[in-house]
């Protein structure tokens, strides 16, 4: 049972401003169905005064995700864009009388949507899809970047991987990124980060060596993870830097397969074989 405050319950049971503004002046979507929560925020902004006149949301997620979105829209109405940019996840959680620690990521999702919507309004470059914001993806399971992790660590004074997972989900999946998250925590708090060993310059490979190395990397580093999810991967061909693979089992036809290919398979091959590799799926 989650310990929700009366305010959270109220905003979950009676969410304010549900819906979508037609032809909005600002809009943003964060999260996705795979991760278990997603928020679409639309704003009506008076261009002369810069005041947010209306805000609406649609949210897929748990009780506190819906409550956080509802409160966010209430906080936004009547604020100038400039003031709205200052809203933090702490404020969202605070307005709700606090959230359970495990649920703090819901308030972070609200803040992310807001940032993205305002960037959209101000014509700033929108962060790429699947990444919470710009930066290098650290947690591939949930697509969380180093910059987001650093920010939740800084703004909420977090010290453990578990806390980081509570606030932005990073590290909540396979657990492979835990050392990187620990590094970010150390760096953010100004401590001496674990020494990063420069990866050795890779020597030039012959085609046969390269194919063998790709096969080995898939077998050792990639297949076990994919099999753990009930799928499988098969190397079909290597044409220059194009690596053609087939996805089998649960992966075949999975909505997140493309994501897996780019962020798990391609990233691994780039790291261990060649930086210029790109992976393509061959469907049967």
């Amino acid at each position: 049972m989650w310990d929700y405050t009366d305010k959270v319950k109220d905003h979950f049971l009676h969410p304010r401003n549900v819906g979508e503004i037609e032809n909005p002046d600002a809009e943003a979507e964060v999260g996705n169905i795979t991760c278990g929560d997603a928020l679409r925020l639309t704003l009506r902004i008076d261009k002369k005064t810069g005041i947010i006149q209306d805000a609406k949301f649609k949210t897929f997620g748990c009780g506190s995700a819906i409550a956080s979105s509802s409160v966010l829209t209430e906080l936004l109405k009547g604020k100038t864009v400039e003031d709205a940019r200052k809203i933090t996840n702490k404020e969202i959680a605070g307005f709700l009388g606090g959230l359970p620690r495990e649920k703090m990521h819901c308030s972070v999702m609200g803040q992310e949507a807001l940032e993205k919507a305002l960037a959209n309004y101000l014509g700033e470059e929108a962060p790429e899809e699947h990444t919470h914001e710009e930066g290098e993806i650290i947690c591939h399971c949930f697509g969380v970047t180093d910059s987001l992790i650093a920010r939740v660590v800084r703004e909420n004074d977090l010290h453990t991987v578990e806390e980081v997972t509570n606030f932005c989900k990073a590290g909540g999946g396979c657990g492979m990124c835990h050392p990187s998250i620990e590094d970010i925590i150390a760096q953010t708090h100004g401590a001496q980060a674990t020494q990063i060993v420069e990866t050795q310059k890779k020597k030039v490979l012959t085609n046969i060596q390269k194919i063998t190395l790709i096969q080995q990397t898939i077998d050792r580093e990639i297949r076990p993870q994919i099999q753990a999810d009930g799928g499988d991967i098969e190397l079909i061909d290597v044409v220059g830097n194009r690596v053609l693979v087939g996805l089998r089992g649960n992966c075949a036809g999975c909505r997140t397969a493309q994501f897996t290919l780019q962020h798990a398979v391609e990233a691994k091959l780039r790291e261990l074989v060649d930086e210029d590799i790109f992976v393509e799926e061959v469907r049967e």
């Binding site: 169905i33 278990g36 897929f60 748990c62 009780g63 995700a65 909540g172 999946g173």
Partner: protein, 391 residues
């Protein structure tokens, strides 16, 4: 507000008769069954009667019944005993959909150097018996496969599985926590070596479990202490709960037909109604090979916790495989193993009935659930006319 309890795979109410039978041991008859004096010593007769009652339900010998504190202890004991009894063997076979009492112990053992094979399941939650056959090696100490799955209710062909495993002379354990009391079990016919059951899943109190150990099976204790349970488990007996479990088993036997006819009928009524009324709802698990009391339905494009909270407002208790309700970040390992897409896994709800569930309660739930799903879908950004076209 009346509570409608459809979460009987999580725990059940104590049968009033069971509670009555327990009370003397919580009041006047507090003696220790190991004592020499009659005041304590006669209590052992009650513990042994419970042993007979439990053996009666699963057609075992009373000497094969070992009392534990819960299903988890029974599962842990079975695994560790097998490894300690066969120290040369370092391999265990189980499935990807076991209860965490098995899965997390296996993870722990793999860190200690044991190798574990997790058999996959298909989209209906069933395992492939050929894969089981292929996985058994001379190094295999134990095969542990659950009798029925707690989340989906899927029932595994334990007779066939046990036969395959025993032909290869490997120990076989089954976690039957969800099956005992709901399905008839005959251990004289079923060649399993060890079987776990738990009191509070069949209207006995929490805090008591059983590990059945077939006579002649090599065994090493997990809890080491006094001579209780013939030296197989130290610790003073939880007498009142053991007595309760004995009567609960006797009563379960009497209700076995009811469970497989009337409870099943109500389950089917609920399931068929929800699947037909709510668009984009999907049944999880094999439709036939299933416990009579369990249904697991995914409502696409909404999240399980929200459904549970709104049902809670109406007094309806159920559970969900959604990430947000399990305290973890990822949704149910059972549904993930079955390849249930994320669109559906996050919105899965398990309703588990009991012999106390009434028709009026089921009718109320049938009326209550659809508007709850509609309400959350109105808030969901993924719900719209496009979704309807997809399926």
């Amino acid at each position: 507000m009346k509570t409608i309890y459809l979460d009987n795979n999580a725990t059940t109410c104590i049968d009033p008769i069971v509670l009555d039978k327990m009370m003397p041991f919580l009041k006047d008859r507090y003696g220790n069954p190991s004592s020499m004096h009659d005041f304590g010593g006669t209590v052992m007769h009650d513990v042994d009667r419970a042993r007979e009652q439990i053996a009666g339900l699963i057609n075992a010998d009373p000497r094969e019944i070992l009392f534990t504190s819960c299903g988890t202890e029974s599962d842990n004991t079975a695994l560790l005993s097998a490894l300690e009894s066969y120290p040369d063997k370092r391999h265990i076979i189980t499935t990807r959909v076991e209860h965490s009492a098995i899965l997390n112990m296996c993870k722990h053992l793999s860190k200690k150097g044991y190798s574990i094979t997790y058999l996959p399941v298909d989209h209906e939650g069933m395992i492939d018996l050929r894969q089981l056959e292929e996985a058994i090696t001379p190094d295999t100490a134990l095969v542990s496969i659950m009798y029925a799955n707690n989340e989906t209710g899927v029932v595994y062909p334990i007779d066939k599985i046990a036969q395959i495993v025993k032909e290869r002379s490997v120990l076989f354990h089954t976690d039957a926590v969800q099956a005992v009391g709901k399905l008839p079990l005959d251990l004289k016919e079923l060649p399993v070596d060890m079987l776990s059951l738990s009191g509070h899943k069949l209207h006995a109190p929490k805090g008591v479990g059983v590990l059945y150990i077939r006579r002649g099976t090599r065994f090493q204790p997990y809890i080491i202490g006094g001579h209780q349970e013939h030296g197989r488990r130290g610790g003073t007996e939880n007498v009142a709960s053991i007595v309760g479990l004995g009567y609960a088993c006797e009563i379960a036997q009497k209700h076995m037909d009811y469970e497989n006819t009337e409870v099943k009928r109500l389950r089917d009524k609920l399931e068929n109604a929800l699947l037909s009324i709510v668009p984009n709802s999907i049944l999880n698990g094999h439709r036939e090979m299933r416990l009579p009391n369990t249904t697991n339905i995914s409502f696409e494009y909404v999240e399980g916790e929200g459904i549970l909270l709104l049902l809670n407002e109406k007094g309806v208790c159920a559970s969900s495989g959604s990430a947000c309700t399990s305290g973890s970040i990822e949704p149910s390992h059972v549904l993930r193993a079955m390849g249930v897409p994320f669109t559906a896994a996050h919105g899965s709800i398990r309703f588990s009935l009991s012999r106390y569930t009434t028709e009026a309660e089921i009718d109320f739930v049938i009326k209550t659930v659809p508007p709850v799903i509609d309400r959350l879908r109105e808030i969901s950004p993924f719900w719209g006319k496009d979704n309807l076209a997809v399926r």
